[in-house]
Protein backbone atom coordinates (compact mmCIF):
# COMPACT_ATOMS: atom_id res chain seq x y z
CA UNK A 1 0.00 0.00 0.00
CA UNK A 2 1.35 3.46 -0.85
CA UNK A 3 2.09 5.75 2.03
CA UNK A 4 1.15 9.36 1.17
CA UNK A 5 4.10 11.75 1.10
CA UNK A 6 2.03 14.73 2.06
CA UNK A 7 -0.21 14.75 5.08
CA UNK A 8 -3.69 16.06 4.56
CA UNK A 9 -6.49 17.53 6.61
CA UNK A 10 -6.56 17.03 10.35
CA UNK A 11 -3.22 15.20 10.55
CA UNK A 12 -1.52 18.10 8.81
CA UNK A 13 -3.13 20.46 11.31
CA UNK A 14 -2.04 18.34 14.25
CA UNK A 15 1.54 18.23 12.98
CA UNK A 16 1.48 22.00 12.46
CA UNK A 17 0.23 22.51 16.01
CA UNK A 18 2.80 20.18 17.50
CA UNK A 19 5.69 21.71 15.60
CA UNK A 20 4.69 25.30 16.26
CA UNK A 21 7.33 27.24 18.18
CA UNK A 22 6.69 30.94 18.83
CA UNK A 23 10.13 32.11 17.68
CA UNK A 24 8.75 35.21 16.03
CA UNK A 25 6.84 36.09 19.16
CA UNK A 26 10.01 35.81 21.24
CA UNK A 27 11.78 38.08 18.77
CA UNK A 28 8.89 40.56 18.93
CA UNK A 29 8.94 40.42 22.71
CA UNK A 30 12.68 41.10 22.89
CA UNK A 31 12.25 44.06 20.56
CA UNK A 32 9.39 45.29 22.75
CA UNK A 33 11.57 45.08 25.84
CA UNK A 34 14.38 46.83 23.99
CA UNK A 35 12.06 49.66 22.95
CA UNK A 36 10.87 49.90 26.53
CA UNK A 37 14.42 50.19 27.81
CA UNK A 38 15.18 52.87 25.24
CA UNK A 39 12.18 54.94 26.40
CA UNK A 40 12.91 54.31 30.06
CA UNK A 41 16.62 55.04 30.01
CA UNK A 42 16.00 58.02 27.75
CA UNK A 43 13.87 59.62 30.42
CA UNK A 44 16.21 58.37 33.15
CA UNK A 45 19.26 60.10 31.73
CA UNK A 46 17.24 63.23 31.02
CA UNK A 47 16.29 63.24 34.70
CA UNK A 48 19.89 62.75 35.85
CA UNK A 49 21.02 65.59 33.62
CA UNK A 50 18.57 67.90 35.31
CA UNK A 51 19.62 67.14 38.87
Amino acid sequence: MDKPDILTGPEKDQLFDRNFKPRGAIAFFLLLVLLGMIFWYGIYFLMLERV
Binding site: F16, F20, P22, G24, F28, F29, W40
Partner: protein, 563 residues
Protein backbone atom coordinates in the same frame (compact mmCIF):
# COMPACT_ATOMS: atom_id res chain seq x y z
CA UNK B 1 -27.62 32.43 20.62
CA UNK B 2 -31.10 33.91 20.84
CA UNK B 3 -31.69 36.35 23.66
CA UNK B 4 -34.78 38.00 25.04
CA UNK B 5 -36.14 41.24 23.61
CA UNK B 6 -35.61 42.83 26.99
CA UNK B 7 -31.90 42.08 27.10
CA UNK B 8 -31.47 43.18 23.49
CA UNK B 9 -33.13 46.49 24.21
CA UNK B 10 -31.07 46.94 27.36
CA UNK B 11 -27.83 46.43 25.45
CA UNK B 12 -28.96 48.79 22.69
CA UNK B 13 -29.57 51.57 25.19
CA UNK B 14 -26.35 50.86 27.06
CA UNK B 15 -24.39 51.15 23.85
CA UNK B 16 -26.41 53.90 22.26
CA UNK B 17 -26.49 56.46 25.07
CA UNK B 18 -22.73 56.72 25.58
CA UNK B 19 -22.01 56.67 21.84
CA UNK B 20 -24.40 59.57 21.38
CA UNK B 21 -22.76 61.50 24.22
CA UNK B 22 -19.40 60.62 22.68
CA UNK B 23 -20.10 63.15 19.94
CA UNK B 24 -19.87 65.86 22.59
CA UNK B 25 -16.77 64.22 24.07
CA UNK B 26 -14.96 64.07 20.72
CA UNK B 27 -15.92 67.66 19.89
CA UNK B 28 -14.33 68.88 23.09
CA UNK B 29 -11.23 66.81 22.46
CA UNK B 30 -10.68 68.57 19.16
CA UNK B 31 -11.48 71.94 20.66
CA UNK B 32 -8.82 71.53 23.31
CA UNK B 33 -6.11 71.10 20.71
CA UNK B 34 -7.41 74.16 18.91
CA UNK B 35 -7.28 76.25 22.09
CA UNK B 36 -3.89 74.84 23.10
CA UNK B 37 -2.22 75.44 19.75
CA UNK B 38 -3.10 79.09 20.02
CA UNK B 39 -5.40 79.00 17.02
CA UNK B 40 -7.74 80.97 19.23
CA UNK B 41 -6.82 83.03 22.25
CA UNK B 42 -10.02 82.92 24.26
CA UNK B 43 -11.33 81.33 27.38
CA UNK B 44 -14.37 79.90 25.63
CA UNK B 45 -15.85 79.16 22.23
CA UNK B 46 -19.51 78.81 21.32
CA UNK B 47 -20.43 79.52 24.94
CA UNK B 48 -18.44 76.55 26.17
CA UNK B 49 -15.46 77.34 28.33
CA UNK B 50 -12.17 75.44 27.89
CA UNK B 51 -12.21 73.86 31.33
CA UNK B 52 -15.88 73.04 31.06
CA UNK B 53 -15.11 71.26 27.80
CA UNK B 54 -12.19 69.48 29.40
CA UNK B 55 -14.49 68.22 32.15
CA UNK B 56 -17.10 67.04 29.64
CA UNK B 57 -14.40 65.32 27.57
CA UNK B 58 -12.95 63.43 30.53
CA UNK B 59 -16.23 62.47 32.14
CA UNK B 60 -18.01 61.39 28.96
CA UNK B 61 -15.14 59.60 27.25
CA UNK B 62 -13.38 58.13 30.25
CA UNK B 63 -16.18 57.47 32.73
CA UNK B 64 -19.60 57.35 31.06
CA UNK B 65 -18.63 55.57 27.82
CA UNK B 66 -16.38 53.07 29.54
CA UNK B 67 -18.76 52.19 32.39
CA UNK B 68 -21.83 51.70 30.22
CA UNK B 69 -19.82 49.61 27.77
CA UNK B 70 -18.27 47.43 30.45
CA UNK B 71 -21.74 46.68 31.82
CA UNK B 72 -23.22 45.92 28.37
CA UNK B 73 -20.26 43.77 27.36
CA UNK B 74 -20.41 42.03 30.74
CA UNK B 75 -24.08 41.16 30.21
CA UNK B 76 -23.17 39.85 26.76
CA UNK B 77 -20.23 37.68 27.82
CA UNK B 78 -21.99 36.17 30.84
CA UNK B 79 -25.10 35.42 28.80
CA UNK B 80 -23.19 33.97 25.85
CA UNK B 81 -20.77 31.79 27.77
CA UNK B 82 -22.91 30.67 30.70
CA UNK B 83 -26.07 30.43 28.61
CA UNK B 84 -28.18 32.30 31.12
CA UNK B 85 -29.45 35.86 31.02
CA UNK B 86 -28.83 38.23 33.95
CA UNK B 87 -31.76 38.95 36.22
CA UNK B 88 -34.17 41.22 34.37
CA UNK B 89 -35.19 43.85 36.83
CA UNK B 90 -31.72 43.97 38.44
CA UNK B 91 -30.21 44.78 35.05
CA UNK B 92 -32.78 47.46 34.26
CA UNK B 93 -32.41 48.98 37.74
CA UNK B 94 -28.70 49.22 37.08
CA UNK B 95 -29.41 50.94 33.75
CA UNK B 96 -31.79 53.50 35.25
CA UNK B 97 -29.45 54.41 38.10
CA UNK B 98 -26.59 54.88 35.67
CA UNK B 99 -28.72 56.94 33.34
CA UNK B 100 -30.27 59.18 35.97
CA UNK B 101 -26.79 59.74 37.40
CA UNK B 102 -25.40 60.57 33.96
CA UNK B 103 -28.20 63.05 33.28
CA UNK B 104 -27.58 64.81 36.61
CA UNK B 105 -23.84 65.06 36.05
CA UNK B 106 -24.33 66.11 32.41
CA UNK B 107 -26.67 68.88 33.44
CA UNK B 108 -24.21 70.16 36.04
CA UNK B 109 -21.36 70.17 33.53
CA UNK B 110 -23.31 71.71 30.65
CA UNK B 111 -24.68 74.39 32.96
CA UNK B 112 -21.09 75.36 33.77
CA UNK B 113 -21.51 74.40 37.41
CA UNK B 114 -19.01 71.55 37.47
CA UNK B 115 -15.88 72.68 35.67
CA UNK B 116 -13.73 70.64 37.99
CA UNK B 117 -12.36 68.04 35.54
CA UNK B 118 -13.05 64.32 35.85
CA UNK B 119 -10.78 64.09 38.90
CA UNK B 120 -12.82 66.77 40.73
CA UNK B 121 -10.00 67.46 43.24
CA UNK B 122 -11.19 69.48 46.22
CA UNK B 123 -11.09 72.24 47.38
CA UNK B 124 -12.45 73.06 43.94
CA UNK B 125 -16.14 72.52 44.35
CA UNK B 126 -18.81 71.43 41.90
CA UNK B 127 -22.58 71.58 42.09
CA UNK B 128 -23.93 68.84 44.40
CA UNK B 129 -25.78 67.18 41.50
CA UNK B 130 -22.43 66.49 39.85
CA UNK B 131 -21.28 64.45 42.85
CA UNK B 132 -24.65 62.79 43.30
CA UNK B 133 -24.85 61.97 39.60
CA UNK B 134 -21.37 60.44 39.62
CA UNK B 135 -22.27 58.34 42.67
CA UNK B 136 -25.44 57.03 40.99
CA UNK B 137 -23.58 56.16 37.80
CA UNK B 138 -21.06 54.17 39.79
CA UNK B 139 -23.50 52.42 42.13
CA UNK B 140 -25.67 51.55 39.14
CA UNK B 141 -22.73 49.86 37.47
CA UNK B 142 -22.11 47.65 40.53
CA UNK B 143 -25.45 46.03 40.49
CA UNK B 144 -25.03 43.61 37.56
CA UNK B 145 -22.03 41.98 39.28
CA UNK B 146 -24.32 40.41 41.86
CA UNK B 147 -26.58 38.88 39.27
CA UNK B 148 -23.60 37.59 37.29
CA UNK B 149 -21.97 36.15 40.40
CA UNK B 150 -25.21 34.27 41.13
CA UNK B 151 -25.34 32.86 37.64
CA UNK B 152 -21.70 31.86 37.87
CA UNK B 153 -22.04 30.09 41.23
CA UNK B 154 -25.01 28.12 39.89
CA UNK B 155 -23.08 27.24 36.72
CA UNK B 156 -20.09 26.11 38.77
CA UNK B 157 -22.29 23.76 40.82
CA UNK B 158 -23.56 22.18 37.65
CA UNK B 159 -20.14 22.08 35.96
CA UNK B 160 -17.60 21.43 38.70
CA UNK B 161 -14.91 20.00 36.44
CA UNK B 162 -15.28 22.36 33.49
CA UNK B 163 -12.86 25.26 33.13
CA UNK B 164 -14.62 28.56 33.59
CA UNK B 165 -14.62 30.25 30.18
CA UNK B 166 -11.83 32.83 30.04
CA UNK B 167 -14.24 35.62 29.11
CA UNK B 168 -16.28 34.90 32.22
CA UNK B 169 -13.18 34.95 34.43
CA UNK B 170 -12.32 38.29 32.83
CA UNK B 171 -15.74 39.82 33.41
CA UNK B 172 -15.93 38.70 37.03
CA UNK B 173 -12.35 39.79 37.78
CA UNK B 174 -13.02 43.14 36.14
CA UNK B 175 -16.14 43.90 38.11
CA UNK B 176 -14.62 42.69 41.36
CA UNK B 177 -11.80 45.19 40.84
CA UNK B 178 -14.42 47.82 40.01
CA UNK B 179 -16.57 47.17 43.06
CA UNK B 180 -13.62 47.23 45.45
CA UNK B 181 -12.02 50.38 44.06
CA UNK B 182 -15.24 52.34 43.72
CA UNK B 183 -15.99 51.88 47.41
CA UNK B 184 -13.27 54.45 48.05
CA UNK B 185 -14.52 57.03 45.58
CA UNK B 186 -18.12 56.46 46.69
CA UNK B 187 -16.98 57.25 50.23
CA UNK B 188 -15.05 60.29 49.05
CA UNK B 189 -18.04 61.60 47.11
CA UNK B 190 -20.86 60.78 49.52
CA UNK B 191 -19.12 61.34 52.88
CA UNK B 192 -16.39 63.92 52.23
CA UNK B 193 -17.50 65.97 49.26
CA UNK B 194 -21.28 66.02 49.01
CA UNK B 195 -21.96 67.35 52.54
CA UNK B 196 -19.15 69.89 52.06
CA UNK B 197 -20.52 70.92 48.66
CA UNK B 198 -23.95 71.40 50.21
CA UNK B 199 -22.56 73.59 52.96
CA UNK B 200 -23.22 71.18 55.82
CA UNK B 201 -19.52 70.62 56.50
CA UNK B 202 -17.11 73.55 56.56
CA UNK B 203 -13.88 71.90 55.50
CA UNK B 204 -12.50 68.85 53.74
CA UNK B 205 -9.18 67.00 54.18
CA UNK B 206 -7.81 67.43 50.67
CA UNK B 207 -5.08 64.80 50.97
CA UNK B 208 -7.54 62.21 52.24
CA UNK B 209 -9.92 62.99 49.38
CA UNK B 210 -7.11 62.61 46.84
CA UNK B 211 -5.91 59.36 48.37
CA UNK B 212 -9.43 57.94 48.24
CA UNK B 213 -9.82 59.12 44.65
CA UNK B 214 -6.61 57.48 43.49
CA UNK B 215 -7.44 54.23 45.30
CA UNK B 216 -10.19 54.26 42.70
CA UNK B 217 -8.42 56.07 39.90
CA UNK B 218 -5.74 53.63 39.01
CA UNK B 219 -7.89 50.53 39.22
CA UNK B 220 -10.28 52.48 36.96
CA UNK B 221 -7.86 52.12 34.07
CA UNK B 222 -7.90 48.35 34.43
CA UNK B 223 -11.67 48.44 34.54
CA UNK B 224 -11.37 50.14 31.15
CA UNK B 225 -8.72 47.79 29.83
CA UNK B 226 -9.92 44.37 30.86
CA UNK B 227 -12.88 44.16 28.45
CA UNK B 228 -10.33 44.77 25.69
CA UNK B 229 -8.11 42.04 27.13
CA UNK B 230 -11.06 39.67 27.11
CA UNK B 231 -11.49 40.41 23.42
CA UNK B 232 -7.76 39.95 22.78
CA UNK B 233 -7.66 36.54 24.41
CA UNK B 234 -10.98 35.12 23.30
CA UNK B 235 -11.75 36.79 19.96
CA UNK B 236 -8.62 38.17 18.30
CA UNK B 237 -6.82 34.87 17.61
CA UNK B 238 -9.94 33.41 15.99
CA UNK B 239 -10.42 36.47 13.80
CA UNK B 240 -6.79 36.26 12.74
CA UNK B 241 -7.35 32.65 11.66
CA UNK B 242 -5.41 31.14 14.52
CA UNK B 243 -5.58 29.81 18.06
CA UNK B 244 -4.79 31.18 21.49
CA UNK B 245 -1.23 30.21 22.33
CA UNK B 246 -1.94 29.72 26.03
CA UNK B 247 -5.29 29.88 27.78
CA UNK B 248 -3.50 29.45 31.11
CA UNK B 249 -1.41 32.57 30.46
CA UNK B 250 -4.67 34.47 30.08
CA UNK B 251 -5.95 33.23 33.41
CA UNK B 252 -2.69 34.01 35.19
CA UNK B 253 -2.75 37.53 33.75
CA UNK B 254 -6.33 38.13 34.85
CA UNK B 255 -5.65 36.98 38.39
CA UNK B 256 -2.50 39.13 38.54
CA UNK B 257 -4.66 42.09 37.57
CA UNK B 258 -7.01 41.19 40.39
CA UNK B 259 -4.08 41.36 42.81
CA UNK B 260 -2.26 44.42 41.55
CA UNK B 261 -4.83 46.80 40.04
CA UNK B 262 -5.87 48.49 43.26
CA UNK B 263 -2.90 48.75 45.66
CA UNK B 264 -0.94 51.04 43.36
CA UNK B 265 -2.97 54.26 43.32
CA UNK B 266 -0.41 56.29 45.22
CA UNK B 267 1.79 56.36 42.13
CA UNK B 268 -0.52 59.15 41.01
CA UNK B 269 0.48 61.02 44.14
CA UNK B 270 4.27 60.84 43.92
CA UNK B 271 4.40 64.63 43.98
CA UNK B 272 1.88 65.02 46.80
CA UNK B 273 2.86 66.14 50.30
CA UNK B 274 2.05 64.19 53.48
CA UNK B 275 2.26 60.71 51.98
CA UNK B 276 5.49 59.09 53.13
CA UNK B 277 8.28 58.21 50.73
CA UNK B 278 8.14 54.61 51.93
CA UNK B 279 4.56 54.14 50.84
CA UNK B 280 5.20 55.85 47.54
CA UNK B 281 8.07 53.50 46.84
CA UNK B 282 6.20 50.39 47.98
CA UNK B 283 3.25 51.17 45.75
CA UNK B 284 5.67 52.01 42.94
CA UNK B 285 7.09 48.52 43.32
CA UNK B 286 3.59 47.00 43.21
CA UNK B 287 2.98 49.00 40.04
CA UNK B 288 5.85 47.15 38.42
CA UNK B 289 3.93 44.05 39.46
CA UNK B 290 0.87 45.14 37.52
CA UNK B 291 3.01 45.58 34.42
CA UNK B 292 3.79 41.85 34.38
CA UNK B 293 0.39 40.58 33.16
CA UNK B 294 0.54 43.03 30.28
CA UNK B 295 3.91 41.69 29.20
CA UNK B 296 2.58 38.14 29.45
CA UNK B 297 -0.35 39.22 27.29
CA UNK B 298 1.89 40.91 24.73
CA UNK B 299 3.85 37.72 24.24
CA UNK B 300 0.86 35.40 24.26
CA UNK B 301 -0.98 37.47 21.69
CA UNK B 302 2.12 37.75 19.50
CA UNK B 303 2.49 33.98 19.65
CA UNK B 304 -1.18 33.53 18.77
CA UNK B 305 -0.85 35.92 15.82
CA UNK B 306 2.34 34.18 14.74
CA UNK B 307 0.42 30.90 14.67
CA UNK B 308 -2.22 32.53 12.49
CA UNK B 309 0.33 34.13 10.18
CA UNK B 310 2.32 30.94 9.78
CA UNK B 311 -0.87 29.04 9.01
CA UNK B 312 -1.46 31.50 6.22
CA UNK B 313 1.97 30.81 4.84
CA UNK B 314 4.46 33.23 6.44
CA UNK B 315 8.02 31.93 6.52
CA UNK B 316 10.32 34.55 8.04
CA UNK B 317 10.79 35.34 11.73
CA UNK B 318 8.54 38.41 11.89
CA UNK B 319 6.80 37.84 8.59
CA UNK B 320 3.64 36.66 10.31
CA UNK B 321 2.73 40.30 10.95
CA UNK B 322 2.27 40.76 7.23
CA UNK B 323 -0.10 37.81 6.87
CA UNK B 324 -2.95 39.06 9.04
CA UNK B 325 -6.44 40.17 7.87
CA UNK B 326 -5.95 43.88 8.47
CA UNK B 327 -8.24 45.11 5.72
CA UNK B 328 -10.79 42.31 5.60
CA UNK B 329 -14.04 44.24 5.89
CA UNK B 330 -15.97 41.13 6.91
CA UNK B 331 -13.69 40.80 9.94
CA UNK B 332 -13.53 44.47 10.82
CA UNK B 333 -13.29 43.68 14.51
CA UNK B 334 -9.75 42.44 13.86
CA UNK B 335 -8.82 45.90 12.62
CA UNK B 336 -10.23 47.60 15.73
CA UNK B 337 -8.43 45.17 18.03
CA UNK B 338 -5.06 45.22 16.28
CA UNK B 339 -5.15 49.00 16.05
CA UNK B 340 -5.50 49.13 19.81
CA UNK B 341 -2.60 46.73 20.29
CA UNK B 342 -0.31 48.82 18.11
CA UNK B 343 -1.06 51.87 20.23
CA UNK B 344 -0.77 49.93 23.47
CA UNK B 345 2.88 49.12 22.72
CA UNK B 346 3.66 52.79 23.20
CA UNK B 347 1.02 53.44 25.81
CA UNK B 348 2.11 50.60 28.03
CA UNK B 349 5.83 51.36 27.80
CA UNK B 350 5.33 55.03 28.63
CA UNK B 351 3.21 53.92 31.57
CA UNK B 352 6.20 52.14 33.06
CA UNK B 353 8.14 55.41 32.90
CA UNK B 354 5.34 57.12 34.83
CA UNK B 355 5.39 54.48 37.53
CA UNK B 356 9.11 54.76 38.12
CA UNK B 357 9.37 56.88 41.23
CA UNK B 358 11.83 59.64 40.60
CA UNK B 359 11.31 59.52 36.82
CA UNK B 360 7.81 60.71 37.51
CA UNK B 361 9.15 64.19 38.28
CA UNK B 362 10.14 64.59 34.64
CA UNK B 363 6.64 63.92 33.37
CA UNK B 364 3.98 64.43 36.05
CA UNK B 365 1.20 66.80 34.99
CA UNK B 366 3.05 67.78 31.85
CA UNK B 367 1.59 67.17 28.41
CA UNK B 368 3.43 63.83 28.46
CA UNK B 369 0.63 62.48 30.64
CA UNK B 370 -2.22 62.89 28.15
CA UNK B 371 0.28 61.74 25.52
CA UNK B 372 0.61 58.50 27.45
CA UNK B 373 -3.01 57.92 28.22
CA UNK B 374 -4.29 58.61 24.73
CA UNK B 375 -2.23 55.59 23.74
CA UNK B 376 -4.01 53.49 26.34
CA UNK B 377 -7.54 54.68 27.11
CA UNK B 378 -7.86 56.27 23.68
CA UNK B 379 -6.03 53.34 22.15
CA UNK B 380 -7.00 49.76 22.93
CA UNK B 381 -9.84 50.79 25.24
CA UNK B 382 -11.54 53.22 22.88
CA UNK B 383 -11.08 51.13 19.74
CA UNK B 384 -12.31 47.95 21.39
CA UNK B 385 -15.34 49.80 22.77
CA UNK B 386 -16.44 51.30 19.50
CA UNK B 387 -15.56 48.21 17.45
CA UNK B 388 -17.38 45.86 19.78
CA UNK B 389 -20.34 48.23 20.12
CA UNK B 390 -20.79 48.12 16.37
CA UNK B 391 -20.30 44.35 16.34
CA UNK B 392 -22.80 43.74 19.14
CA UNK B 393 -25.37 46.11 17.68
CA UNK B 394 -25.08 44.74 14.18
CA UNK B 395 -25.34 41.14 15.39
CA UNK B 396 -28.18 41.66 17.84
CA UNK B 397 -30.25 43.75 15.46
CA UNK B 398 -29.54 41.66 12.38
CA UNK B 399 -28.59 44.78 10.47
CA UNK B 400 -25.53 44.72 8.22
CA UNK B 401 -22.81 47.25 8.83
CA UNK B 402 -23.17 50.49 6.85
CA UNK B 403 -20.21 51.32 4.57
CA UNK B 404 -18.14 48.26 5.53
CA UNK B 405 -15.11 49.28 3.48
CA UNK B 406 -14.96 52.63 5.23
CA UNK B 407 -15.50 50.92 8.57
CA UNK B 408 -12.42 48.71 8.31
CA UNK B 409 -10.01 51.62 7.78
CA UNK B 410 -11.32 53.71 10.67
CA UNK B 411 -9.04 52.05 13.26
CA UNK B 412 -5.93 52.70 11.17
CA UNK B 413 -6.81 56.35 10.66
CA UNK B 414 -7.33 56.60 14.39
CA UNK B 415 -3.95 54.97 15.09
CA UNK B 416 -2.14 57.41 12.80
CA UNK B 417 -3.96 60.32 14.40
CA UNK B 418 -3.11 59.23 17.93
CA UNK B 419 0.54 58.58 17.12
CA UNK B 420 0.96 62.09 15.75
CA UNK B 421 -1.09 63.59 18.58
CA UNK B 422 0.78 61.76 21.33
CA UNK B 423 4.17 62.51 19.79
CA UNK B 424 3.36 66.20 20.02
CA UNK B 425 2.15 65.90 23.59
CA UNK B 426 5.03 63.70 24.79
CA UNK B 427 7.64 65.95 23.26
CA UNK B 428 5.92 69.02 24.65
CA UNK B 429 5.73 67.44 28.08
CA UNK B 430 9.45 66.78 28.13
CA UNK B 431 10.08 70.48 27.50
CA UNK B 432 7.77 71.62 30.26
CA UNK B 433 4.41 72.03 28.48
CA UNK B 434 1.69 71.70 31.16
CA UNK B 435 -1.47 69.64 30.80
CA UNK B 436 -4.95 70.81 31.76
CA UNK B 437 -4.14 74.33 30.65
CA UNK B 438 -5.69 76.67 28.11
CA UNK B 439 -2.35 77.51 26.53
CA UNK B 440 -3.83 79.68 23.79
CA UNK B 441 -4.61 82.48 26.22
CA UNK B 442 -1.06 82.98 27.41
CA UNK B 443 1.72 80.47 26.70
CA UNK B 444 0.75 80.11 23.05
CA UNK B 445 -0.26 83.73 22.55
CA UNK B 446 2.56 85.66 20.85
CA UNK B 447 1.22 88.91 22.26
CA UNK B 448 1.38 87.66 25.84
CA UNK B 449 4.41 88.01 28.11
CA UNK B 450 4.26 84.29 28.97
CA UNK B 451 4.56 83.24 25.30
CA UNK B 452 6.70 80.08 25.02
CA UNK B 453 7.70 79.53 21.37
CA UNK B 454 9.15 76.06 22.14
CA UNK B 455 5.61 74.77 22.52
CA UNK B 456 4.46 75.89 19.08
CA UNK B 457 5.60 72.79 17.13
CA UNK B 458 4.43 70.43 19.88
CA UNK B 459 0.93 71.87 20.07
CA UNK B 460 0.73 72.02 16.29
CA UNK B 461 1.52 68.31 16.08
CA UNK B 462 -1.18 67.60 18.65
CA UNK B 463 -3.63 69.64 16.60
CA UNK B 464 -2.75 67.77 13.42
CA UNK B 465 -3.22 64.44 15.14
CA UNK B 466 -6.50 65.54 16.65
CA UNK B 467 -7.89 66.55 13.27
CA UNK B 468 -7.16 63.07 11.92
CA UNK B 469 -8.68 61.46 15.01
CA UNK B 470 -11.79 63.60 14.75
CA UNK B 471 -12.17 62.63 11.10
CA UNK B 472 -11.90 58.94 12.03
CA UNK B 473 -14.46 59.42 14.80
CA UNK B 474 -16.80 61.18 12.42
CA UNK B 475 -16.56 58.27 10.01
CA UNK B 476 -17.35 55.92 12.89
CA UNK B 477 -20.47 57.88 13.84
CA UNK B 478 -21.60 57.73 10.22
CA UNK B 479 -21.01 53.96 10.15
CA UNK B 480 -22.67 53.29 13.51
CA UNK B 481 -25.71 55.50 13.16
CA UNK B 482 -25.94 54.53 9.52
CA UNK B 483 -26.12 50.89 10.57
CA UNK B 484 -28.92 51.75 13.00
CA UNK B 485 -30.92 53.16 10.09
CA UNK B 486 -30.50 50.11 7.89
CA UNK B 487 -33.05 47.37 7.40
CA UNK B 488 -32.68 44.08 9.18
CA UNK B 489 -31.38 41.34 6.84
CA UNK B 490 -30.67 38.48 9.24
CA UNK B 491 -32.03 37.16 12.53
CA UNK B 492 -30.70 39.12 15.45
CA UNK B 493 -28.49 36.93 17.60
CA UNK B 494 -25.82 37.21 20.26
CA UNK B 495 -22.74 35.64 18.78
CA UNK B 496 -19.02 35.95 19.44
CA UNK B 497 -16.17 34.33 17.53
CA UNK B 498 -14.82 31.77 20.02
CA UNK B 499 -11.11 31.15 19.98
CA UNK B 500 -9.73 27.65 20.45
CA UNK B 501 -6.71 27.11 22.62
CA UNK B 502 -3.59 25.71 20.97
CA UNK B 503 -2.60 23.43 23.82
CA UNK B 504 -5.28 21.37 25.44
CA UNK B 505 -4.45 22.55 28.96
CA UNK B 506 -6.02 20.65 31.84
CA UNK B 507 -8.14 22.56 34.31
CA UNK B 508 -5.94 23.77 37.14
CA UNK B 509 -8.16 24.44 40.17
CA UNK B 510 -5.92 27.26 41.44
CA UNK B 511 -6.51 29.23 38.25
CA UNK B 512 -10.18 28.40 38.11
CA UNK B 513 -11.28 29.65 41.48
CA UNK B 514 -11.60 33.11 42.97
CA UNK B 515 -11.35 32.66 46.72
CA UNK B 516 -7.55 32.42 47.22
CA UNK B 517 -6.96 35.33 44.84
CA UNK B 518 -9.56 37.49 46.55
CA UNK B 519 -7.89 36.78 49.86
CA UNK B 520 -4.44 37.79 48.61
CA UNK B 521 -5.95 40.83 46.90
CA UNK B 522 -7.43 41.93 50.21
CA UNK B 523 -4.19 41.44 52.11
CA UNK B 524 -2.09 43.37 49.59
CA UNK B 525 -4.58 46.23 49.52
CA UNK B 526 -4.51 46.46 53.31
CA UNK B 527 -0.70 46.40 53.40
CA UNK B 528 -0.42 49.04 50.71
CA UNK B 529 -3.20 51.34 51.78
CA UNK B 530 -3.55 51.29 55.55
CA UNK B 531 -0.29 53.26 55.92
CA UNK B 532 -1.34 55.59 53.12
CA UNK B 533 -4.68 56.38 54.75
CA UNK B 534 -3.00 56.83 58.11
CA UNK B 535 -0.62 59.34 56.49
CA UNK B 536 -3.51 61.11 54.78
CA UNK B 537 -5.39 61.43 58.05
CA UNK B 538 -2.57 62.29 60.43
CA UNK B 539 -0.10 64.42 58.53
CA UNK B 540 -2.12 67.23 57.01
CA UNK B 541 -3.10 70.33 58.91
CA UNK B 542 -6.45 72.08 58.64
CA UNK B 543 -9.08 71.07 56.11
CA UNK B 544 -10.02 73.40 53.25
CA UNK B 545 -13.15 75.44 52.58
CA UNK B 546 -14.85 75.21 49.15
CA UNK B 547 -13.74 77.31 46.18
CA UNK B 548 -15.41 77.74 42.82
CA UNK B 549 -13.23 78.01 39.71
CA UNK B 550 -13.80 81.72 39.15
CA UNK B 551 -13.38 82.99 42.69
CA UNK B 552 -10.25 83.12 44.89
CA UNK B 553 -12.46 83.91 47.87
CA UNK B 554 -13.81 80.70 49.45
CA UNK B 555 -17.54 80.15 49.57
CA UNK B 556 -19.11 81.08 52.87
CA UNK B 557 -21.12 78.33 54.48
CA UNK B 558 -23.50 78.31 57.41
CA UNK B 559 -20.67 77.33 59.72
CA UNK B 560 -17.94 79.69 58.58
CA UNK B 561 -18.25 83.23 59.79
CA UNK B 562 -17.05 86.23 57.85
CA UNK B 563 -14.15 87.88 59.70
Amino acid sequence: MNISKSLKRLIYWELGIPLTLLTIGIYHGLMQTIFRAGVIHQSSFAHLDYYQGLTLHGVINAVVLTSYFAVAFGHATITFYLKKEPHKWVSWLSFWLMTIGTVMAAWAMLAGKASVLYTFYPPLKAHPLFYLGAALLIVGSWIPLFSWANIYTAWKKENPQTKTPLAVVGTLVNFTIWFVCTLAVAYEVLVLLLPWAMGWKATVNVTLARTLFWFFGHALVYFWLLPAYIMYYTILPKLAGGKLFSDLAGRISLFLFLLFSVPVGVHHQFSDPSISRGIKMFQGLLTFGVAVPSFITAFTLAASLEYAGKKRGSKTLLGFFAKLPYLDASRYLFAYLIGGLILFIFGGLTGIVNASGVLNAVVHNTAWMPGHFHMTVAGPVFLSIIGMSLFLYSGLSGKPVFLPRVNVIIPYLWVIGILIFSTGLSWGGLIGEPRRTNLGMTYLNPKNELFTPEWVPTTMLALAGAIIMTFAALLFFIVFFGTMLRKKTAPGVLDFPVTEALHDEKRIPLFDTFKPWLLIMGIVILLAYIPAFINANKNPGPGAPPFTPANPVPEQTAQTSTP
